[in-house]
């Protein structure tokens, strides 16, 4: 789960990371009064889950409270990469002497949190990695010991030759590590970490992603989810405990298991079709999940046909068949459905489907070919 900048800021500030004052606003007048409170020139920043806000016009300087209100007026409601801006962050504009990058990510390869720092900050770190890899230093932190003082200072000295600034940056890295581990982050990033003309080290941005698996035991973090910033069908799916991602095609897919779901999408494409979604109903075979899955898929007007691909293991195929039956009795499905199911309680499932006039295939390739043919016939 990605946090908005203003939410990440709150975590950073609670951990003691020096950041400029400021607050979040959802109306121009709120933005204006925040600008009045903090004083001086401010930056008004769109709060959306998308990179490249600056280029899209989502970040504006304002020299007075009135200008801040006007900037907020322009930015609120703006669409950035398809996402409507609902909130802006208003912070004092900082005088910047230098910009560095400090990121902490959960790394699969070392199986540890890994720091990535660069004296070339303020720009995309992937760009730095590609063009000037020598300007990046990495450090895997052993979680049994945490970030050790010499490690933090070693990284900080790579950013700042001045020992006072390096000590300040080392402290910020220790605080960032605390934020990361205490909140189950998969990413915590400061870009840019700046020095001011007076020599202070200050974080000007906060980018935080939380491991979704952390949310069950951390209701405080779960509350930070901003569903207005997501695709409504994906929100609906998550509430129904489905993993769903909307795509651009026209073949709706209902599959159990993420790997099989991806392989199903690949096979749809292989046979000339275009998947309309990724959907994993998961391991448990609650018929309600099937009902919800169908509801979500059928709400997409692009969908021309629906493919079920169920390999019963823990998932009982008769539960899936029952879910399908229930769904069809609750709301009309106007597009053709092709069902492939095999495995646990297959015979029972086939009987249930027959009872509502449907047939079930047992071969995945055959099912995919058939659904692609149906879609093409319909086109």
């Amino acid at each position: 789960m990605n946090l908005h900048e203003y939410q990440g800021r709150a975590l950073f500030r609670a951990a003691g990371i020096p950041m400029p004052d400021g607050d979040v606003a959802s109306t121009p007048s709120e933005a204006e009064s925040i600008a009045r409170r903090v004083g001086g020139t401010v930056v008004v920043k769109a709060q959306v889950h998308a990179g490249g806000r600056g280029k899209a016009g989502g970040v504006k300087l304002a020299k007075s409270p009135a200008e801040a209100g006007a900037a907020a007026e322009k930015i609120l409601g703006m669409s950035i990469k398809g996402l409507i801006v609902q909130r802006v962050l208003v912070v004092p504009a900082a005088d910047i002497a230098s910009e560095a990058y400090v990121g902490l990510i959960m790394d699969r390869a070392t199986q540890r949190p890994v720091f990535m720092v660069s004296p070339a900050g303020g720009i995309d770190i992937e760009e730095v990695a590609a063009k000037t890899p020598e300007k990046i230093r990495r450090l895997a932190v052993d979680p049994r010991y945490g970030l050790l003082p010499h490690q933090a200072l070693g990284l900080a000295l790579f950013l700042y030759p001045d020992i006072a600034q390096a000590r300040a940056a080392a402290r910020i890295m220790e605080q960032l590590y605390q934020v990361f581990t205490a909140n189950g982050c998969s990413l915590a990033e400061i870009n840019p970490l700046v020095t001011t003309p007076e020599g202070r080290v200050v974080a000007l941005d906060a980018k935080v992603s939380i491991d979704d698996n952390e949310l069950d035991r951390r209701p405080d973090l779960a509350l930070l989810r901003d569903e207005t910033a997501e695709e409504p069908s994906e929100v609906q799916a998550r509430r129904a405990n489905l993993t769903f991602i909307k795509l651009e095609g026209n073949v709706g897919c209902v599959v159990n298991g993420a790997g099989l779901a991806m392989a199903t999408m690949d096979l749809v494409k292989y046979y000339g079709g275009e998947p309309a979604n990724f959907l994993d109903i998961g391991g448990s075979s609650n018929p309600d999940k099937v009902v919800n899955a169908l509801r979500i898929i059928t709400s997409d007007p692009n969908v021309k046909a629906i493919l079920f691909n169920i390999f019963g293991g823990i998932t009982r195929t008769d539960d899936v068949a029952n879910g399908l039956k229930t769904a069809l009795s609750q709301f009309p499905v106007k597009v053709p459905i092709v069902v492939r199911l095999t495995g646990t309680n297959e015979a029972e499932a086939v009987k249930i489907l027959r009872g509502i006039g449907m047939t079930a295939l047992s071969d995945m390739d055959e099912a995919v070919r058939q659904v692609v043919a149906v879609v093409k016939g319909a086109a």
């Binding site: 699969r108 979680p143 189950g184 698996n213 298991g257 998961g282 293991g313």
Partner: protein, 289 residues
């Protein structure tokens, strides 16, 4: 022969009295797995299904029954604790089925397990099966057949799909291992490739990968260097949009290292025969056995 488990494996089920634990324990007993103990704190002294003694702790279970494999069906909040407990009790092979274990927990679990010289499979995995001998986890036993193909996979049901094709064509398996798709897990492709390469009763290896991370690329490099047996591979997620997370499998495309195209290229460079579709496994294996 086989890797990791065989008919001598003595299994303890952590969370045996829970919903998933009890269901799958029955399945494993039916399959013939030697389930020698269960663990549920507070239920020590009970007996599961009239035949499996239940203990309060894994240490008690090991002391009483000599269990040497553990399978974990406890909810996510307790899964890391259960792995710590199994490792601390000296269990050399720990299989964690639980889905949704916080990754931060795994950063501490993994070194703990390694320090004790134990192997963890998972979390968020279907477990493993040595057909005809022992099944630990949730892979359906009826789709497997004893034989000489070793299979390792990051996913669950996709594994079943492929195993099913093999079995229907009378191509048996030495062991099928689902290593799980979480970003941090205990056993890698490489661990399994090495074990299969060293197993005299495995002739060919099937490796089922996914987008995200670089495990498949590392595995391909290892194949080039170490594996002499034929390898057949698959990568799921060729049509997945970049930058989106495809469900719990943790298939995240991070930067340039993790796309299906890149992984397939790595497989091909390592002379791994790449399936275009799951069903292709049959022909590719038959050509190489």
């Amino acid at each position: 022969m086989s890797i990791f488990i065989d008919k001598a494996s003595r299994l303890v089920v952590q969370g045996i009295t829970g919903r998933d634990g009890s269901f799958h324990t029955r399945q494993m007993l039916e399959y013939g797995t030697q389930v020698v103990a269960g663990v549920t704190p507070g239920k020590g002294g009970q007996t599961f299904e009239g035949r499996v003694p239940v203990f309060n702790t894994v240490a008690d279970a090991v002391a009483a029954t000599g269990a040497d494999v553990s399978v974990i069906y406890v909810p996510p909040a307790g899964a890391a604790g259960a792995i710590f407990e199994a490792a601390d009790a000296g269990i050399p092979l720990i299989v964690c089925i639980t889905e949704g274990v916080p990754v931060m927990d795994m950063t501490r679990v993994l070194p703990y397990v390694r320090e004790r010289g134990a192997r963890l499979i998972g979390p968020n995995c279907p477990g493993l099966i040595t057909p005809g001998e022992s099944k630990v986890g949730i892979i359906p036993g009826n789709i497997c057949l004893p034989g000489r193909v070793g299979l390792v996979s990051r996913s669950g049901t996709l594994t079943y799909e492929v195993v099913n094709h093999l079995t229907r064509h009378k191509i048996g398996q030495s062991t099928c291992v689902g290593i799980g798709g979480d970003p941090l897990n205990g056993t890698s492709f490489i661990d399994c490739l090495r074990a299969f390469q060293d197993d005299p009763d495995t002739d060919l290896i099937v490796m089922m990968g996914e987008i995200g991370g670089t495990d498949e690329q590392n595995a391909a490099a290892f194949v080039l260097e170490y594996v002499t047996k034929p390898v057949v591979g698959f990568i799921a997620g060729q049509t997945a949009p970049p930058g989106r997370r495809m469900g719990h499998a943790g298939a995240i495309i991070s930067g340039s290292s993790g796309t299906a195209a890149e992984k397939i290229a790595a497989f091909e460079a390592a002379k791994i025969a790449v399936m275009k579709r799951p069903v292709d496994v049959v022909e590719l294996v038959q050509q190489r056995m």
